[in-house]
Amino acid sequence: MPTLANYLLASGILFAIGLGGVMLRRSIIVIFMSLEMMLSAANLSLVAFSRYGLVNGHQNFNAQILVFFIITVAAAEVAVGLAIIVSLYRARQTTHVEDLDTLKF
């Protein structure tokens, strides 16, 4: 029987992989995908807690509603983020992160 700790550990490792992807990959698109992975890992944590922390004999549906909203917001965020990446590509002709370095002092 998997315990709550197992699920949390899985979620945490997925999150850590996503964090590594954000910090180590050079392509903007892949960074963005790692970001989505981090969000999903958080969703897994929430659903695990929803199942293991019973309220009145059934799952804690508040957590599942939160997951619902997170997925929605993530979808909106992806849309807008990708639109920004497209305009960035049009302006700079590159998706390599190290070429986008004008945001400095």
């Binding site: 954000v22 910090m23 992160v97 190290e98 370095d101 400095k104 002092f105």
Partner: protein
Amino acid sequence: MNISMIAWITLLVPLIAAALIVLVTRTSKPLASGLAILSALVAFVGAWTLFIAKTHGDFLGFNWINVAIDLDHHFTIPLGLLIDPLSRTMLVIVATIAPLVFIYSLGYMKEEEGYWRYFAGLALFLFSMLGIVLADNLVMMFIFWELVGVSSYILIGHYFRKNSAADAAKQAFLVNRIGDFGFMLGILFIWLATGDISFASLNPEAGALQGQPVMLAIGVVLIFCGTVGKSAQFPLHVWLPNSMEGPTPVSSLLHAATMVAAGVYLLARIFPLLAASPQASEIVLWIGAITALGAGFLAIGQDDIKGILAYSTISQLGYMVAGAGLAVSAALPMFHLFTHAFFKCLLFLSAGSVILGMHHEQDIWKMGGLKNKMPLTFLAYLAGMLALSGCPGLSGSFSKDLIMAHAWADHRAIFWVLVVGAALTPFYMARQASVVFLGSPRSDHAKHAHESPMVMVLPLLLLAIPSIAAGWGFVKNIFFPEALGSLEEAGHLPWFVEWIFISAFVVGIALAFAIYRNPAKDPLRIPLLANRFYIDAFYDWAVATIQGGFARLCSFIDRWFINGILVQGSATAIWFLGFCLRFLQVGNIQAYAFFFGAGVIALIYVLLTVH
């Protein structure tokens, strides 16, 4: 209309008049002077009413500050009027002299500029002086004390376009401030010690003062500092001769008769405390005696007609303060204040008449032979001069001799100091009379002098009456009833003491007439006296060196320490920190992500370990 209403009207009408003069009468000279004189007459009627009705009471106006400290303690400063024999007598003095001076000013200031300013200042002064007289507690008296100082500043600086007048006004105010600082410390001291500041409840045995002679002495001496400033005692006497820059009626009202006498009035008010402290009254006595003698010497070397009278005022104030220091009764200094107010005011007004007749020339060595040109002025002046010099039978001799008699009985050294001063007084007064009125004219102004208009001469003649009569027995008993303290002779005086006084008078006058028989210039030229014992030079040096040095030190601290290190230093440090942190903005997005992640890790670590 009950008595308390009359008291409040007496106090407040001059204030209303001053406000109206300032607001309404800029362009109308008769209206300005009319309002002022009307307010003085209202005060006159009110004061005499209160005197005749023998009012006695403490009329509370309102509690200016009323704060509850705890359930049964309150911190209150009331503003009320205390009418007792002392304030009744002083009210009569102030309210009788004031209308006469106001009417005199009609003639003196007729051609002067700033007419409305002058009368507004006079009305404000009358309000403030009446406030001092009627105040029922130390704090209220202090408020009006400062108000009197302000009116004095306004009036001395009437000819403010003249540098010397503006400087004199500033000096008067600042030197008074020094005395008032001690006064305020004294008020706080007495308040902390006894918890009460009203005159009716002054008690040397109250509260923390019981059995503590040193504390009582400190409190009284601090309050005496106010007198030293206001009544021009040594060492704060330097402002009074310079205050002669103001118009002559101002000099007579403020700086001879009433304002400078407020210091003596204060001593009379705190007399229970003064009498209970031998150390404090010793200090008061010596300062008064030194002032009396020193100012007498300085008066000999003066060439300005008002300057002689100014030093004479300082000297006579020294007599009053010495009389208070003898701690016999509150009435002793007040009696001399009473007689002095009349004859000194008379002397100043007649000097003003002379000045006006000489077209504003004030050097006595340009005058001479005026007794034929201005006979009425001369007669009035003579009455005042004889009263001041202690001519037997006139008012001044009664009060001055009484003080000296008590000095013989209690304090022999002071007696001799005062007697020498009493010999100097007729000397310098006769010098002035001889040079100004007798002999032959020394300049064109003197040759063409003429008598002053009646509006000025009438107050002179009216003032001559009390100058002569104010010391006589029945007058004394009316104004100084037993309740004020005894004015009896001091025990057994040997027969020769009386003759010492008379001989001082005679010797002084004779010597003066002998030396100053129609001279062309002053045969006695003593530089020490002419330079006022170099006290002024000393003060100039002290202010320039000590205060200037302190100011430079403060400037140094301000510029280098506060501004340089604290203000600009902290700004530079922040700027430097920002400059260093700026290098973290490398532009690489993943570096930012790294910083972000590292920060989160650090936060988790802190949260874990702090538990």
